[in-house]
């Protein structure tokens, strides 16, 4: 371990991802997106802009939506991280609601929207249209599916409330 650090500042970190601990030696410059996508294989985390402009790589960390392309993995040890894969494995109602509402076209950016919306619903189980726009306004969908997201998030909110 010490030897690794001496050779370039790499560091052993334990990332808490979707409830599992991942022990990794990461370089100081490696972003959380690179580690999640390229090294752990969580390809639901998408690279689009790679500089914090589009939201496609959004994950939930400490309960908040964060842009994993703007986070250095080396700083993320000990912080619980939730990715789209977790939502999928739990069959979160947002996923079916997005399919039912056609809130996607090519789908490349969609996991980023879903994760951002999940973070919203965790804090606000009954969001208004304005709340949803505020939560999702940082995400880019080049296909322009924005209007469909409102119905999808509200459908999921209704299902979550039972």
């Amino acid at each position: 371990m010490a030897n690794v650090e001496e050779q370039g500042g790499a560091k052993l970190v334990t990332l808490q991802i979707n409830g599992d601990g991942h022990h990794l030696v990461v370089e100081p410059q490696e972003t959380l997106r690179e580690v999640l996508q390229d090294r752990i294989g969580l390809t639901g985390v998408k690279e689009m802009c790679d500089r914090g402009a589009c939201g496609s790589c959004t994950v939930i960390m400490d309960g908040r939506p964060v842009l994993s392309c703007m986070m250095l993995a080396i700083e993320c040890g000990g912080h619980p991280i939730e990715t789209i894969e977790q939502l999928n494995s739990q069959e979160h109602p947002l996923i079916q609601a997005y399919a039912d509402n056609h809130a996607m076209q090519c789908g490349y950016c969609t996991p980023g929207f879903v994760v951002t919306a999940k973070a919203l619903l965790d804090k606000n189980p009954d969001p208004s249209e304005e709340d949803i726009k505020t939560a999702l306004e940082g995400n880019i969908c080049r296909c322009g599916t924005y209007p469909a997201h409102i119905g999808a998030v509200q459908d999921a909110a209704r299902k979550l409330k039972g």
Binding site: Q96, A99, T145
Partner: protein, 827 residues
């Protein structure tokens, strides 16, 4: 193939007259997207996600200069970097004959690719010869660059992306910089620097075209009024979601490719043509596609085959799979076809709004598009004249980008808007007065519809009526520059229109297998471009076969021997849907024959499910075959197929049919008139102090002929509205005027429209059944994003009383226009 099922021949006027009264799936709302859970749940695999064991990562050097020649290359430091596995230099002997087919060509071969697969049917269909095409191209990795970011010089494969990037930085290149010219008007002046010295003898003039219909001069003489004006459209790009990438693996003599590409089979053909690898030794995988909007299908672009050749050579040399990736900046290199266009208009018209002549003088950067087509296709204007000049510049290459008709739509809308403004007339009335086709009026078009079995409906009138109601036009339209709102902003409202041009063309084929459990597979490969093609084509097959939708599936990622058109879900659905529809009708016929025909195996005869009936006695619904006269007498489809297949020891192929469709090379052959019209209204508020424009509402009214999937059509409508709003309000790839270096090649500084950029969209579908596609459909995906920009531009003019004649209409230009309006005393 069954002989009594009619497959449409290549006959422009033939159309589907089979319009069932009742559909179970088609046209119905509430059908979930079949790929929705995969996409929303993050399990949909894109090319970017493909990760093979032992895979190397490849980066290609992007030229830092817009016009430069490589004098010397030193790769020694990169070679010494641990983790670097192979370096490919432009002077490598294996690259000397590896031509990039078409990039930077001096010929506009756009019509070649518009045929899709048909392009490969024979050389006689090429608009230019292959030799000419090659002449204008260069190689997949060359020793010069004609635009900043051009893939040139060196490609490096390494153990990780980071190592490949670092190795590229370590390459030392001695460049000879050359003068840059960006503006096509400047490029055509005597003494202008050659933008591509290796091409066309260093001349920047690429094409000159003159098209005239009627007599424009006489049309101007017949006019009551004449106007002249100029408009410029600056370059913009797709800014597509998934940056370009590929993965290539050599296995023995065979090559496997995973492609992020709009027309992947085209890419395979190009790869084969360049490398000499036979097509049957290239295996193509097409994962989901992170959108292209046409940009991804450009056979002229490096990403369609240039970097496939690079990955292939590196994979062969290393014995490992190679993934070549563009980063966001590198991906920012394709420009729309109307970049950078300078257009002068002269228009003559009567006092009642009838246009008598249009003259368009058009100068564009390379691979431009001229603007006369829609006047030909869509109006009764008898006198048209186009002078088009195309110049080589040091802008990045241009190509179709939702879509190839951008400049046609732009010019069309501009003329109608300026005529209405000059007359002080309601622009919807000017549109209705000039609607027609090929210089002929609506009376002619009405007769055409009746003669060819179409419903005789006035599509434009219907579209306008619905749109005016939706946006409250009668109460909101006003004299330009004359409505200040209580919030201190200027109110504006605009309208424009067009037809749907991409309503039928190209070639497609698919197979259909019905398994012995009664489920159905559609067999065809395509890139997942367009909106919701998977569900829509499954709906068609289920509808025509009488199956439950859950029993039909289409996984279009692998080669099956059949290729469907891409994109799909809207425009190319006009071709693909014929394939799905026809093969399903054939399969149903075969199924009912199975249900009534015994299977004899040596000495044993196995009875069919309905031994006492003929096929015509039966029908299929909800995946059950039943006797029409006694619906209770039914058996599952699975049982019918099982009897016919497993009774023969399971060695016989399951029920299989296929269909092919080719129709309309360009979709607009002479005498094959477009009948469905599209209308768009926009409402804006403009801050007179800052020039900021708020888009309050966009209403899209689209005559889709028949909406097979309403949610899909609406997706095109609001999706197009957002893309269009970005285009008119701010999308521009900004180049340093001195160096030609792109200054905003990222998604922070290149502004696309997002959630807050339109307050409200309203989407209205009109179904006249006047399309050439099956069920009378046309597509609208091309139309919305392409035409709406000028609806917003017209609304801005209505707000401020002056035209913004340099697009995009960014706040600084809006302010300048407001100043002009003030000087004219508008307010």
């Amino acid at each position: 193939m069954s002989e009594d099922v009619k497959i449409m021949e290549y006959e422009p006027l033939v159309r589907d007259r089979y319009i069932p009264e009742k559909f179970q799936f088609l046209g119905k709302r509430g059908i979930s997207r079949m790929d929705g859970v995969e996409k929303a749940g993050g399990t949909a695999q894109y090319t970017r996600d493909v990760n093979l064991p032992g895979m190397l990562f490849c980066k290609v050097l992007a030229s830092p200069y817009a016009n430069a020649l490589i004098k010397n290359v030193d790769t020694s430091k990169a070679e010494a970097l641990p983790g670097v596995r192979a370096i490919l230099r432009f002077d490598d002997p294996e690259l000397q004959d590896k031509i990039l087919l078409g990039e930077n060509t001096k010929f506009n071969a756009g019509h070649i690719a518009s045929d899709g697969q048909a392009f490969y049917h024979g050389k006689e269909e090429l608009a230019v010869t292959q030799e000419q095409w090659i002449q204008g191209a260069g190689r997949v990795l060359d020793g010069f660059a004609w635009w900043e970011g051009a893939h040139s010089g060196v490609a490096i494969a390494a153990e990780s992306l980071q190592i490949a990037e670092e190795a590229i930085r370590l390459v030392e290149i001695e460049w000879e910089e050359r003068d840059v010219v960006l503006n096509p008007i400047e490029a055509l002046k005597p003494g202008a620097p050659p933008a591509a010295p290796e091409l066309n003898d260093g001349k920047n003039l690429l094409r000159k075209i003159r098209i005239e219909h009627g007599d424009a001069e006489k049309g101007f003489q017949d006019a009551d009024k004449l106007i002249e004006f100029d408009i410029r459209r600056r370059p913009y790009t797709a800014a597509d979601g998934e940056p370009m990438s590929n993965v290539i693996l050599w296995r023995g003599d065979n090559l496997e490719i995973w492609a992020h590409q709009q027309q992947p089979y085209d890419g395979k053909c190009l790869l084969s043509a360049v490398t000499g690898i036979p097509l049957n030794k290239i295996k193509l995988h097409v994962p989901f596609q992170g959108c292209h909007f046409g940009h991804g299908g450009n056979p002229f672009m490096h990403h369609t085959h240039g970097f496939h050749v690079i990955s292939a050579i590196l994979s062969k040399r290393t014995g490992r799979p190679v993934k070549t990736l563009y980063n966001r900046r590198e991906n920012f290199y394709g420009l729309s076809q109307d970049a950078d266009s300078h257009t002068h208009f002269k228009v003559g018209f009567k006092d009642d709004g009838i246009i008598t002549a249009v003259k368009i003088d058009n100068i564009t950067a390379k691979m431009g598009q001229y603007g006369i087509d829609h006047f030909e296709d869509n109006t009764r204007i008898p006198n048209l004249l186009l002078n088009y000049v195309e110049a080589q510049t040091n802008f990045a290459p241009a190509w179709w980008m939702r879509c190839e008709q951008n400049h046609n739509s732009f010019c069309f809308s501009a003329v109608f808007a300026h005529v209405a403004d000059a007359l002080g007339m309601d622009p919807t009335q000017v549109a209705l007065k000039n609607d027609g086709v090929g210089g002929k009026d609506m009376e002619y078009l009405s007769k055409f519809k009746k003669d060819h079995g179409f419903p005789d409906r006035d599509s434009l009138a219907e579209v306008i009526e619905k749109g005016k109601t939706a946006i409250n036009w009668e109460n909101k339209w006003h004299e330009a520059g004359k409505k200040m709102l209580p919030n201190g902003k200027l109110h504006g409202i605009g309208f424009t229109w067009d037809h749907e041009w991409d309503d039928n063309r190209g070639a497609a084929s698919a197979g259909l297998i019905m398994h012995c459990d009664g489920t159905v597979d559609i067999l065809a490969q395509k890139a997942d471009d367009g909106v919701n093609p998977m569900t829509t084509n499954c709906e068609i097959v289920a509808e025509e076969l009488g199956m439950k939708l859950k029993d039909v599936n289409w996984r279009f990622f692998e080669e099956t021997g059949f290729q469907m058109m891409t994109p799909d879900g809207s425009c190319n659905l006009c071709t693909d849907a014929y394939v799905s529809c026809n093969m399903a009708r054939k399969a149903k016929k075969t199924l009912l024959e199975y249900a009534t025909t015994p299977v004899k195996l040596i000495e044993i005869e196995y009875p069919p499910a309905f031994p006492d009936h003929k096929p015509e006695d039966l029908d299929v619904k909800d995946s059950m075959v039943f006797v029409k006269a006694d619906p209770e007498n039914s058996v599952p489809v699975a049982e019918v197929v099982k009897r016919a297949t497993l009774n023969q020891n399971g060695t016989q192929a399951p029920l299989f049919e296929w269909a092919y469709q080719r129709q309309g090379r360009y979709g607009c052959e002479e005498g094959r008139h477009r009948l469905c019209r599209q209308g768009y209204f926009a409402e804006v508020e403009v801050d007179p102090d800052t020039g900021e424009v708020d888009v309050k509402k966009i209403v899209s009214i689209n005559d889709v002929g028949k909406a097979l999937s309403p949610e899909t059509c609406e997706g095109q409508q609001y999706g197009g509205a957002y893309m269009a709003t970005g285009r008119v309000m701010g999308e521009e790839v900004i180049y340093d005027p001195k160096t030609g270096v792109r200054l905003n090649a990222n998604l922070v500084d290149y502004k696309v429209a997002t959630f807050r950029d339109i307050d409200k969209t309203e989407n209205i579908l009109v179904e006249t059944g006047m399309g050439y596609g099956p069920y009378g459909l046309v597509g609208i995906g091309e139309d919305c994003a392409t035409v709406i920009p000028f609806a917003v531009a017209n609304a801005i003019q209505n707000a401020i009383g002056e035209w913004v004649d340099d697009h995009p209409a960014t706040p600084n230009k809006v302010i300048q226009a407001i100043q002009k309006a003030k000087e004219k005393g508008v307010f």
